[in-house]
């Protein structure tokens, strides 16, 4: 079971996880491990106070690229399920931007796949951040942080 959701509306990652797990995952005992990553908007970047962000993306290619990543990771680590949810549009500090969750039989695969999905997403999925600073300056983020 694989699911990708690129959305403009804010979301609660824990509620999303609970709902998706309840509705989509079969009630069997295959998955001994669940690994979850939630990325949230910071109110600072590169030493400046950030009060808002706009996330642009490439509709169509974004979903396609994420689905490819999820499918490749699911095969490589024999995942039982994988979920990627990503915000676009106007985002405020403390709002979740991204949720990555994977289910597998054992924890090593779950941890590794979750991290791989997240890191690969940051370098290949066509999203771009434009942030607004507290002094009114608007700027494009030109690189990812190291980790």
């Amino acid at each position: 079971m694989q699911h990708v959701d690129v959305r403009e509306m804010p979301f609660d990652p824990w509620q999303y996880l609970a709902d998706w797990q309840a509705q989509q995952l079969p009630e069997n005992a295959r998955s001994g491990a669940t690994a979850v990553f939630v990325g949230t908007m910071r109110d600072f970047n590169e030493g400046d106070d950030v009060i808002g962000m706009y996330l642009e993306h490439y509709p169509g290619m974004t979903e396609r690229q994420l689905a490819t990543l999820v499918a490749e990771s699911s095969q490589r680590w024999s995942l039982d399920a994988a979920l990627v949810v990503h915000r676009v549009g106007e985002i405020l500090p403390a709002q979740p931007i991204v949720l990555v969750a994977v289910w597998s039989a054992h924890r090593a695969a779950a941890f590794e796949a979750c991290r791989h999905l997240m890191e690969t997403l940051k370098h290949t999925a066509p999203f771009w951040k434009r942030e607004t600073l507290s002094n009114g300056t608007v700027r494009w983020v030109d690189r990812n942080t190291l980790g």
Binding site: H57, V98, A125, F127, K129, R130
Partner: protein, 77 residues
């Protein structure tokens, strides 16, 4: 069928347009697509490119009817 060219984020602002249609009956190299759509002669190494929503290298050939996109390094997550 024209080639549809898209520009995103800071590159869109630099080029001054988000979309361009190139009329052609024959395949073009990605370099030719860049030159005819952006007005700039050289495709910079740090500009990413996709054809029909899949990443391609700078030497790719583009067919009439294809959708090409040029964009800066991505910063999601």
């Amino acid at each position: 069928m024209p080639i549809k060219v898209l520009f995103f984020a800071s590159l869109r602002e630099r080029i001054g347009q988000s979309q361009r249609l190139l009329e052609t009956d024959t395949p073009l190299t990605l370099q030719e697509v860049w030159q005819r759509s952006s007005g700039e002669t050289h495709l910079p190494d740090n500009v990413l490119r996709s054809v029909n929503q899949t990443y391609v290298d700078a030497n790719s050939l583009v067919q009439p009817g294809d959708e090409v996109a040029f964009f800066p390094p991505v910063t999601g997550g």
